[in-house]
């Protein structure tokens, strides 16, 4: 098994290179890079009437001199061939230097670091809650297959699934925050957060996160519940459960001791994917609830052509997903001896 994990870890390297080269190239090929962006803004600021149609035109009609432009290009590494500047970027990454935001001029790491706690909080909470609700619900639905409990919960779960997360966000915010005023409209904490006691702080964060969490969970919920249900149903019908029953084992014990462990294998496989998904967040939900997380940062940087931040998020994101995948491999290996022994 050790060999397996060493192989997994070594695989990170080519995967990481692949993803970053791809995105790096894309940022170079798509017209309208950070320099053009800045030029437009400079023009708009100086009240220049020249409309910004194409790059050449823009540069020609710009307020910057040729040498200033070249200086800028050099600063962002746009003067070199793609491969060379990718090399420089990669070297900096290895030195843990993510570069500077073209928008604010502050280090990329600073922007990311600010959002990290919020994103991790929502990511981990969403995942924990999803597992805590979906696994028991899936088990119940499998055992009570085709009864009222199963049918009614299926309808509810499907309604949740059919409504996109951000629409769900708008619905819950309208009902519970706007009309009923049970929960705050937006934000991560109250204004007087710093004055609160520790318990008060925890309560405050939880109070603020109820509605966003509902919006986050509504999509993943159905998938996980049905994954659990179907997986358990398959295993309940498995030969080895029948063997256990033939030994004289009670049905309940057979479910718990034999069917359950096998049925969480697909859930464990799913684990890594979910970590990434939840940590990456959703910029629409973040926008609705005014949460300053990864999703919003990524979206804004993309719109603003703030490529160092985009690349920085990508680096952190792919590292998280790789770690997530390895974690789920470990989980699978823990429950399934066939994986552990390389069968």
């Amino acid at each position: 098994m050790t060999a397996y994990f060493i192989r997994r870890f070594l695989l990170i390297i080519p995967t990481f290179l692949g993803i970053t080269i791809l995105v790096f190239t894309v940022t170079r090929m798509v017209p309208g890079g950070p320099i053009e962006r800045m030029l437009t803004e400079a023009q708009l600021a100086s009240g220049d009437q020249v409309s910004f149609q194409s790059n050449n035109q823009g540069i020609a009609g710009s307020t910057l001199s040729e040498s200033q432009l070249n200086q800028l290009k050099e600063y962002y590494g746009f003067d070199k061939p793609i491969l060379e500047s990718y090399g420089i970027w990669l070297k900096n990454i290895l030195l843990l230097d993510l570069g500077y935001s073209t928008r604010y001029g502050e280090p990329v790491w600073e922007s990311i670091k600010q959002r990290l706690p919020i994103s991790i909080y929502y990511g981990v909470m969403t995942m924990l809650l999803t597992y805590m609700v979906c696994i028991p619900l899936g088990i119940l639905k499998a055992i009570k297959h085709k009864t009222h409990i199963d049918n009614i919960s299926s309808i509810l779960v499907f309604i949740g699934y059919a409504i996109p997360g951000y629409v769900m966000g708008i619905i819950v915010i309208t009902i519970f925050a706007f009309y009923l005023e049970w929960f705050p409209l937006s934000g991560f904490t109250s204004n007087n957060f710093d004055e609160l006691s520790f318990i008060g702080k925890v309560k405050d964060i939880l109070w603020h996160s109820v509605l966003p969490l509902i919006a986050y969970m509504s999509g993943a919920f159905a998938v996980m519940t049905f994954l659990m249900k179907n997986s358990l149903m398959d295993n309940l019908a498995a030969d080895y459960v029948r063997t256990a029953m033939a030994k004289g084992m009670e049905f309940k014990t057979a479910v718990v001791k034999h069917a359950f462990r096998n049925s969480i294998i697909p859930i464990a496989t799913n684990f890594g994917e979910n970590i990434t998904l939840f940590l990456a967040g959703s910029f629409l939900i973040e926008k609705i609830f005014n949460i300053d997380g990864f999703g919003l940062l990524g979206y804004e940087s993309l719109v603003e052509r703030d490529y160092p931040v985009v690349m920085g998020i990508l680096v952190i994101g792919s590292l998280l997903s790789l770690i997530g995948n390895i974690l789920s491999d470990i989980c699978v290996a823990l429950v399934d001896p066939r994986v552990r022994f390389g069968a």
């Binding site: 019908a237 030969d239 030994k247 084992m249 034999h258 022994f341 069968a343």
Partner: protein
């Protein structure tokens, strides 16, 4: 019939499966006795209801689709089919044990052999200590011919060969010295050498603990080797019941004759055509009027479509039944 000697009595067992639209009758009025210490074979084509017979007796039919709608299974003066669930738990595994068709999937892939074998002692002998249970496990594995049992107990099913796994299944089934062992095609998935070893093993162990076996197979060769009496099934019915010797020497039912003729023999010249029974098993959803076998039978007459032959006991021959209206004229 001497009913004193009867250990398990199956009467008019009728089982249905609920499919999406309607229910199909998979077992129809199956009636037979199992005697003390005997090996009773059940033989028939794939899909004729052999496994369903076994699962109905064990009350392990897939729920909620499969259901016994009629009949009784009497064991120790009690009808197993109306026993409370708790009572049934004390019979399964301890009094009536079962081995399944597929050794590859019958063991749980995520638990060690020791755990799966140990469970049966936990269930039926909860007062047993860990150490006693461990000793008993080693003992039973040795008995079924598994080398270095200590090591095997710590292994997972995927680390064992098919033959080994079936031995483990036999060990599990025999660990409580049951009265009855139901073996559902225990050797079908194994190669010939392993098959013979397993059959010998079962025979030895049967004599040692004096149990009765219901041996399910579609291989008449195995029946000849293993059994005292045979039940021949066709499309959910018993068509013939006889002691093994009589069945092979004087088969009465045309279907049995067909089955016997389809066994390759050394006497027949090589490369000659093997007799096979033409046609297909009737669809259980719409069973034809009259005899179920008539569409494939060479001896069909008009009456065959009018009467549905029931298994009638034959004269003074003990434990012989045949379900064919023409058996007498055909056998003479």
């Amino acid at each position: 019939m001497a009913s004193k000697d009867v250990l398990l009595k199956v009467d008019n067992l009728t089982t249905t499966f609920q499919t999406d639209e309607d229910s199909i009758t998979v077992l129809d009025d199956v009636t037979f006795d199992l005697h003390h210490g005997e090996s009773l074979g059940i033989v028939g084509e794939s899909g004729c209801g052999k496994s369903v017979t076994a699962l109905s007796i064990m009350r392990l039919l897939p729920k909620p689709a499969g259901q016994v709608v009629k009949g009784t299974v009497t064991y120790n003066d009690e009808n197993l089919l109306s026993l409370s669930r708790e009572k049934m738990y004390t019979i399964r595994g301890k009094k009536i044990a079962m081995i399944f068709q597929e050794p590859m999937t019958a063991l749980n892939p995520v638990h060690r052999i020791g755990k799966q074998l140990g469970e049966i002692y936990q269930i039926h002998f909860p007062e047993m200590s860990e150490a006693e249970s461990h000793a008993a496990q080693i003992d039973i594995l040795e008995k079924v011919g598994i080398p270095s049992p200590e090591k095997r107990l710590r292994e997972y099913p995927h680390q064992l060969s098919g033959g080994m796994r079936q031995r483990v299944m036999i060990a599990m089934a025999l660990s409580c010295k049951p009265d009855i062992l139901i073996a559902d095609e225990p050797t079908t998935a194994l190669d010939v050498t392993t098959q013979n070893q397993i059959l010998n093993l079962m025979r030895e162990l049967q004599q040692e603990i004096n149990m009765s076996i219901i041996f399910i197979t579609h291989d008449l060769g195995v029946i000849a080797e293993m059994c005292d009496r045979v039940i021949v099934m066709y499309a959910g019915r018993i068509v013939e019941q006889a002691p093994v010797k009589d069945l092979f020497s004087t088969p009465h039912h045309p279907y049995t004759k067909g089955l016997l003729e389809s066994i390759p023999r050394l006497e027949t010249p090589p490369k000659s055509r093997l007799e096979i029974i033409e046609g297909l098993v009737p669809n259980l959803k719409n069973i034809p009027e009259g005899c179920r076998f008539r569409s494939r039978c060479d001896f069909e007459v008009e009456d065959c479509s009018k009467t549905d032959p029931k298994g009638e006991p034959i004269g003074d021959e003990s434990h012989r039944t045949v379900a064919c209206i023409r058996w007498q004229e055909l056998s003479s």
